[in-house]
């Protein structure tokens, strides 16, 4: 048993820049054997960068990492793993078509005959032993089934079991519960408890208060790439934590409100909207949500990850199956069956995942901007290139897209400029209702504020905006009203006056908003 008072892992003065943007400033962090150390902070606080440094994905950082007292620098994920640092990312990395037993030993297969022949019996034996050690209830028949047949929770445990083969001293879990049920979360916690007794140090990243206070021994909070505070669970109550996470100044952020929106016509009505999960055994993603958005209004959808806000926006954009409930656009009934139809009715959706559902990386900035509005630039099927080019140039200038030429590939732009170009794409369609899903994810501070400015400009003449965000400062800066979702249900609604990040956060975590918070 290692000495529990000495840290297994010690980070001192870690700094990291991407180009001109400094994302981590002089961060200190340490982890003792057998403890769970929670790393908390808002999106963009620098948590994921820190994890990537520990996982060996980024290796050009400043500062020093010590493992068992000796300085190390992980130059690749494989190097980190050799040193006994295991990382479970949010996206699972199992090969779905291979059996669980094979997945568990991928790259470390039991072999004989100079390493050429697989030894199936030894392999299965090892897999069984690995599962038993972690208390997983899987028979040999289960282990022989493809990983893809199992629910996410089991895959998650397999992923952990896989990470723990070998001599693991440090385990990083990046928001491990975002895709799990309540019962599944309990099992994960039991597993973590079991690892603690084995002396494994666990770094646990989470947004969820209840989880943090159940599992943490110590808590460190990052904000804007700096370590704001670190304390034992007992000496660091939720109120302190929330304050550390959002920063005091954000609670009274200056907002510019649209005037007279209460008398403006209703642009979008949603009544009792339900969005089922693709797996019918799972609970609905959105459960009976009703609200309206008026012309000229910015309405925020707040909530923790997995609260259903993205699914709600996709349903409004005709991208979800089995939706029930009624929707209306400016008084007319509305039930889109595809994004194409939604666009024709005057909606636009800026999706959260730029890479997967936003950018077309193979074509130019100009063509990305005009993609959704192409019917406007064509006559009889032929494109009017000069009109198209003019429109792209105008939108790029209005949004402040910085690029050498509009003909260059969009994948060569920075994240902020890519996001502005995608906003330009939707602005060009002239939407009546603009849906935004995490509009500033992965965008630097400067571009963020430019985007906020544009959104404020657009709502003034009567565009309605519905914006899902997990960033409190963003919701407070932009929204006239904030709807808070918790597990797919509308948990609270706040007008801009008197709303604070604390109130939103408490409602998003599922506490009753009218009752006094336990730590007030």
């Amino acid at each position: 048993m290692p000495d529990p008072s000495k840290p297994v892992l010690k980070l001192s003065g870690i700094g990291k820049s991407f180009g001109a943007t400094r994302v981590l400033h002089d961060v200190d962090f340490d982890l003792r054997a057998g403890e769970v150390h929670v790393l908390a902070g808002e999106n963009g606080a620098g948590k994921s960068t820190l994890i990537k440094i520990l996982a060996g994905i980024h290796h050009d950082y400043d500062g020093m990492i010590e493992l068992h007292g000796s300085a190390v620098r992980f130059v690749s994920p494989a190097a980190a793993s050799r040193h006994g640092v295991a990382v479970i990312h949010q996206e699972l990395s199992l090969v779905e078509s291979m059996s669980i037993a094979d997945n568990l030993q991928l790259g470390r297969e039991a072999a004989r005959g100079a390493g050429w022949w697989l030894n199936r019996r030894t392999s299965m034996g090892r897999a069984v032993a690995a599962c038993r050690e972690l208390g997983l209830n899987l028979s040999e028949a289960d282990l022989a089934r493809p990983a893809g047949e199992f629910p996410v929770a089991v895959k998650h445990q397999i992923e952990i079991a896989k990470a723990l083969t070998g001599d693991v001293r440090v385990l990083l879990l990046d928001e491990p519960t975002s895709a799990l049920h309540h019962g599944e979360v309990e099992r994960l916690f039991r597993l973590i408890g079991c690892l603690k007794t084995r002396g494994v140090g666990v770094i646990y990243i989470s947004h969820k208060m209840d989880e943090i206070y159940r599992i943490a021994d110590r808590i460190t909070v990052l904000r804007d790439g700096r370590r704001i505070g670190c304390g034992d669970r007992t000496t660091c109550p939720p109120a302190t934590l929330v304050q550390w996470m959002i920063g005091r100044e954000l609670s009274h952020h200056n907002r510019s409100r649209s005037v007279g929106s209460a008398s403006a016509p209703v642009a979008l009505t949603v009544t009792d909207l339900r969005v089922p999960h693709r797996d019918p055994r799972r609970p609905d993603l959105v459960r009976g949500v009703s609200f309206t958005v008026r012309a000229g209004e910015v309405v925020g959808l707040a909530g923790l990850q997995g609260c259903g806000a993205s699914e709600l926006l996709r349903a409004l954009f005709g991208e979800a199956g089995g939706v029930t409930g009624t929707m209306g656009l400016g008084g007319d009934p509305y039930r889109p069956s595809s994004p194409r139809e939604a666009i024709a009715r005057g909606l636009a959706l800026l999706t959260a995942d730029r890479k997967a559902t936003g950018l077309v990386p193979t074509i130019s900035v100009e063509r990305n901007i005009t993609l959704a509005a192409l019917p406007r630039f064509s006559r009889g099927g032929f494109l009017q290139r000069s009109v198209e080019r003019g429109a792209a140039r105008r939108q790029a200038a209005a949004l402040g897209v910085r690029c050498a030429s509009l003909a260059q590939s969009i994948s060569s732009l920075s994240g902020g400029n890519q996001q502005k170009a995608l906003l330009a794409r939707w602005r060009e369609t002239g939407p009546r209702v603009l849906l935004l899903d995490e509009p500033t994810r992965g965008v630097d501070i400067g571009a963020k504020h430019e985007i906020y400015e544009r959104i404020r400009e657009w709502v003034a003449p009567g565009m309605a905006v519905l914006m899902a965000s997990t960033e409190m400062s963003e919701l407070l800066a932009l929204c006239d009203r904030v709807l808070v979702l918790h597990r797919g249900e509308l948990a609270a609604e706040f007008a801009s006056e008197g709303v604070t990040a604390e109130k939103i956060l408490i409602a998003a975590m599922g506490e009753q908003p009218q009752s006094d918070p336990p730590f007030a």
Binding site: F317, E319, S338, P339, R340, A342, I343, A344, L349, T351, A356, T357, G358, L359, V360, P361, T362, I363, R367, L371, A372, L374, P375, F377, S378, G381, F382, L383, R425
Partner: protein
């Protein structure tokens, strides 16, 4: 070694491959044969059929797919065209559009399988490739369809070839240009219009570049795929007609493995099989490169065996060259 700046322009790289092949021809000119116009005229005639297939292939590749059925559709359409014009006596003005429609219908079948039923392009077009070849043999009754018509008593009667055969296989401009070369250039022009001038052309690029993002932007990705595969089928029909007039018969075995030549032409010119980018100009340059390569090897009387091996090596070299410069 850092490549010079001009090599970062894709067009320059495509030109470079062609220039290298031309330089080889200038050195091994087979007693001056390479410098005679007739050699170039024949090359342009021979490359027309695979070049036409490559036009359709380019459209499909840009959507991120592949069309393995073009060689078989060529065979099917060659047989059908010969049958309709020689045996059934249809006038060319009716037979030509009918055969092109047949090819388009074949392509549209692939397009529906890929776009609507979400079958992988390789599998869908592989199935159609096998089916169309079988259909060609079925229609032809195991025979080549030519001016020699088998009579019930087992003897052959010879009928006159319809004039469309002469017209399409003619040499124009004082015998200096083959008509099929102009047909090929026509197909290049049609593809150019589709890819650069039409809204649907843009949809092909968007579908191949990021289908999800395209769908979220209201791009009709299913229809875009249908158009690409449909046009590829129609081009294959045009190639089949050209093949039939050159051979003066409809051979159900025509076009075997031509889909591979078409892919080679598209790729050697610089189109990416990953989809989302490309241009018909690359395909034109690729057709010239492959065409000259074949021609230079044949005028130097290089054996067929060595020719095939050399072609394989050169395709890999050209593609590696393209990629090296991209980074």
């Amino acid at each position: 070694m850092k490549p010079p700046g001009w090599l970062s322009v894709p067009w320059m790289r495509a030109f470079l491959a062609l220039l290298l092949v031309l330089a080889v021809g200038a050195v091994w000119h087979a007693d001056g044969a390479f410098f005679r116009w007739n050699t170039h005229r024949d090359m342009l005639r021979q490359v027309a059929v695979p070049g036409i297939l490559a036009c359709g292939m380019t459209l499909v590749i840009i959507t991120g797919g592949i069309d393995l059925a073009v060689g078989s559709i060529l065979g099917l359409c060659a047989v059908t065209f010969a049958l309709l014009t020689i045996h059934c006596g249809w006038p060319a003005i009716v037979a030509l559009p009918a055969v092109v429609l047949l090819g388009a219908a074949g392509g549209a079948t692939s397009g529906t399988l890929v776009g609507r039923l979400r079958v992988q392009p390789f599998i869908a077009t592989l199935a159609l490739m096998v089916f169309a070849r079988g259909l060609a043999k079925f229609i032809a009754g195991g025979q080549k369809i030519s001016a020699a018509v088998l009579k019930p008593d087992g003897t052959f009667a010879y009928v006159a070839l319809p004039p469309v055969f002469q017209h399409l296989d003619a040499r124009l401009f004082g015998g200096n240009v083959a008509a099929v070369t102009l047909v090929f250039l026509g197909c290049v022009a049609v593809s150019w219009v589709v890819l650069t001038q039409l809204r649907y052309g843009r949809y092909l690029f968007a579908t191949g570049g990021n289908e999800e993002a395209a769908r979220y932007s209201g791009v009709p990705v299913t229809h875009a795929r249908l158009l690409a595969y449909g046009l590829s089928g129609a081009f294959a029909a045009v190639a089949g007609i050209c093949q039939a007039v050159q051979e003066q018969q409809g051979d159900p075995e025509a076009g075997v493995a031509y889909e591979l030549t078409a892919i080679a032409i598209a790729v050697i010119g610089g189109n990416s099989l990953a989809g989302g980018r490309g241009a018909i100009g690359f395909t034109l340059l690729g057709a010239l490169t492959i065409g000259y390569l074949e021609k230079i090897l044949s005028i130097n009387a290089v054996a067929q065996s060595s020719r095939l091996m050399l072609t394989g090596v050169i395709i890999v070299a050209a593609v590696l060259l393209q990629r090296r410069q991209l980074n």
